[in-house]
Amino acid sequence: MTSPLNPELKRRTLVQATMMTGAALTASGAAQAAAPAEANAVRQPVKHGAVGSSLSRADGAVKVKGTARYAIEQPLARMAYGVLVQSTIPAGRIRAIDTAATRASPGVLAVYTHESGFRINRPKRDLEGGAATEVFVPLQDNLVRWNGQHIAIVVAESFEQATEAAALVTVAYEASEALLHPTDSRAHPQPMDAIKAEWGDAAAAFASAPVKVEGVYTTPREYNVPMEPHACVAAWEGDRLTVWEPSQWVGGARQVISEWMGLDIEKVRVVSPYVGGGFGSKIAPHPHVSLACIAARELGRPVKVSLTRPQTFTGLGGRPRTHQRLALGATRDGQLVSIVHEGWNETAIDDTHVEPTNSVTTLMYATPNLSSRHSIIPVNTVNPSWLRAPGENPSTYALETAMDELAHTLGMDPVALRLKNWADQDPKAKIPWTTRQLREAYAAGAEAFGWSRRNPAPRSMREGRELIGWGMAAGTYPVWRQPGEAKIILHADGRVEVHSGGVDIGTGTYTILAQAAAEVLGVPVERVSVSLGDTDLPRAPVAGGSQLANILMGAVHTAAVATRTELLNLAASDPKSPLRSARVNDLVLENGQIRPSRRPTGGVAIADLLKAVERERLEVHRDTFPTGATEAQRNAGNRSFTLMQPATASGGSAHAWSAQFVEVRVDEDFGTVRVKRMVAAFDSGLVFNPKLARSQWIGGMIMGIGQALLEEGLIDPRDGRVVNANLADYAVAVNADVPEIQTISVGIPDLQATPRGGKAVGELGIVGVAAAISNAVFHATGKRIRDLPITIEKLVGA
């Protein structure tokens, strides 16, 4: 087996996995071998604050009091404000850019354009062993590649002055012909052979299948739109640069920034203690951050740069448009005999983003014949990027809608059809699942929803003028993993600190890491404080791909166990210890006390032991890397995607699973669709904190309501402008769109998947939701809309 830290990367496997999450990977799963022996403890009854308990959010108080400081809320002296200017044509050259009026405007400190001549280096992309999600660097030439590309930055004493002055920049363009839609006859699809899948003879099997369904399924441009716009503060101190950047990954941001600036990475610090939502859009810093760094360097002052909300639609990309042709062939009793799939997504004209539309097509069901291909099609757009469950989301949308069509054609219950085509093992990798509680999810979801009372005929259920539709779909998300680090500090005043550079993007990392430490150290969880989101803290991988909780829970657990061992050794061996006469094997750590195991009393509190042995603190740094891992290897996990191991790395195929059940009401006269209730059962393995996991699950489901019914980036066919680049016209779900939601956990600890037995949570919540809603709309109306979002005009016109 190849060492995961010295991998001989197989190009095909590498590309394949990168397609899945933009991650390169190693060829082996050995780094996961360090599963802590104590992991079985999770099966015991859950105490307050322990792993598995529904503790309230540790960062709750600061967030409800408004005292949590987000990136651009750093109060720095002499702050200057940068405002960006974006292109208004989709393709061509800047012939002239007139900044005279801008420079003369009150308060203006500087204007930078491509004529300023500042070099910003091209960063290394994920596939190249870097952390960047786009190669584009602004102001390096006069080329316009998309409408809304950054072409200038104006810096002034105040935000108001910079905003006014930016509006005074005038640009003369030499437009060239733009390629705006992937279906344009001039477009050139690029086949992604690395994620092609073929077995059996899919075409022949489909041709001779007794029952067939076939359709084209499309999704529009969708945007992450976290509530906190993409914004940062850059400040230099000599040749050292600090960037307060809302980041899902400070290590990756540091890598990209150091490459942009040509700066030794040790001189860059990135700070991101709180992030106002990311959903994939804050994995790597986007080009405006480089301009903040340049402006701050040139002016010798801290510079704050925020994209306006409209600029966030073109200053970075969301999910690309996707298109899938999917054909299912089956026997008359519902056994799949063939899946034929062909998909594409759009990408930037000179950059690459892959949204693998077949990641679930090849995974969910057993079929003797399958053929699946995916292409990317360059158009004049900002490079698209990752949005919650990239790949799995559109892939599941098409597959699970098609399965509903097949169930309807066969006259078979949709759940029964899925069980009929149950895959006993990973159909593509041909290895067993680690755990797959999907049957349990179907059963629990159906029971809670009341699925057995469904009349399968479309338009058969109604209340007054409202047609009632019940739909369901399955969902899945892979388990990504890699080694991680953590530090625990015990203080003589009784405080316990947990340190990690990993970021809490609202997922609950602050809370669950405190739980992990408290459980092992036997201290009240309220005494544990967790510090996150700073490159000065122990290295951590990206909070993306639903991997970070599992990685850091493993690392903190390992560090906590080592801390306990050191404490007990100290108690038994230090000449000043009150327990020095005890043997270390006879000591236990319980309720914050070290005591002989056979004596319920006579213990010494951790803080008292430290005082007795005259230690102010005990600091323990541990990790889940294989023994002998080098600094370079540890840095790789922190600064690149190269250590991310795919779902199949442990010899089993590790995925989280879900079953979504939805009731919609459709107004017969107006075609308005309302989601009335939602029930979902999730197999996310061991759930570290059910209260916070539920928040992530329902968050995904609600984003799924938006995807199914509301969200669509509208592109002007004349000039490629995003017409609805704001939060009123790009509609996301609001409170009144959202019904009661019931979530059920059916997972069991999966120790083959991760050290503590957790699987994916956050990304999983959205997968399958759009299909379940679409299937419910069909059940209500008899109309099958295969183009998201399902809007009134499509329903009325269908």
């Binding site: 309230s56 959010r57 709750g60 108080a61 967030k63 409800v64 009091k65 408004g66 005292t67 949590a68 400081r69 987000y70 109060p75 009150p106 105040s158 935000f159 108001e160 002055q161 006014e164 992450n224 739109v225 976290p226 509530m227 906190e228 716009p229 709180y274 992030v275 106002g276 939502g277 990311g278 959903f279 925020s306 306006t308 909300r309 993007i505 609202g506 997922t507 609950g508 209260k691 916070l692 539920r694 928040s695 992530q696 329902i698 968050g699 995904g700 489901m701 609600i702 984003m703 704001n726 939060l727 009123a728 996301v732 779900a733 609001v734 409170n735 009144a736 959202v738 009661e740 939601i741």
Partner: protein
């Protein structure tokens, strides 16, 4: 052309003497000049509700209000909601208890809206809460928990509670 002017803003019971460009919004006055960044900028064009504060006892959008317009009026922000001893307002406590947020960025606006929603007498049912809380977008999707928190806090506070 913008003019600079001295302005006294009464925020959370305290006077702040600021010199502001006449174009500065109440939101930017709070965040950039008064050292109170608890109110959030999500869109800066009145579409998301993250900047919701109370002016003269009513919820307003800080990004669509010029700072000058709030002169001489009582401004309450998220930083002024808890009791002086730090005890959380019932709505703040209910948001923590019901996990009515994830990333926390929309939360100050949600809470300020929720306090007003209860005060306005619009927390009578879950559907009413959903409707009157729909000016505040939460992209993390905490809505069901926000409804639960508002319902719970409204019950604790009783109708017509003062702001």
């Amino acid at each position: 052309m913008a003019t600079q002017r001295a302005v006294r803003l009464r925020i959370n019971g305290r006077d702040h003497d600021l010199t502001l460009d006449s174009r500065v919004t109440l939101l930017d006055a709070l965040r950039e000049y008064a050292g109170l960044p608890g109110s959030k900028k999500g869109c800066d064009q009145g579409q998301c509700g993250a900047c919701t504060v109370h002016v003269g006892g009513q919820r307003v959008l800080g990004c669509l209000t010029l700072a000058m317009q709030a002169e001489g009026r009582e401004i309450t922000t998220i930083e002024g909601l808890a009791a002086p001893d730090g005890t959380l307002h019932a709505v703040q406590a209910a948001f923590v208890e019901h996990d009515a947020f994830q990333c926390g960025y929309c939360t100050p606006g949600q809470i300020m809206s929720a306090v007003a929603c209860i005060h306005e007498g619009h927390a009578g049912s879950d559907d009413e809460i959903r409707e009157y809380m729909s000016g505040n977008i939460c992209r993390c999707g905490a809505y069901p928990h926000i409804v639960a928190a508002v319902r719970d806090a409204a019950a604790r506070l009783g109708k017509g509670t003062s702001l």
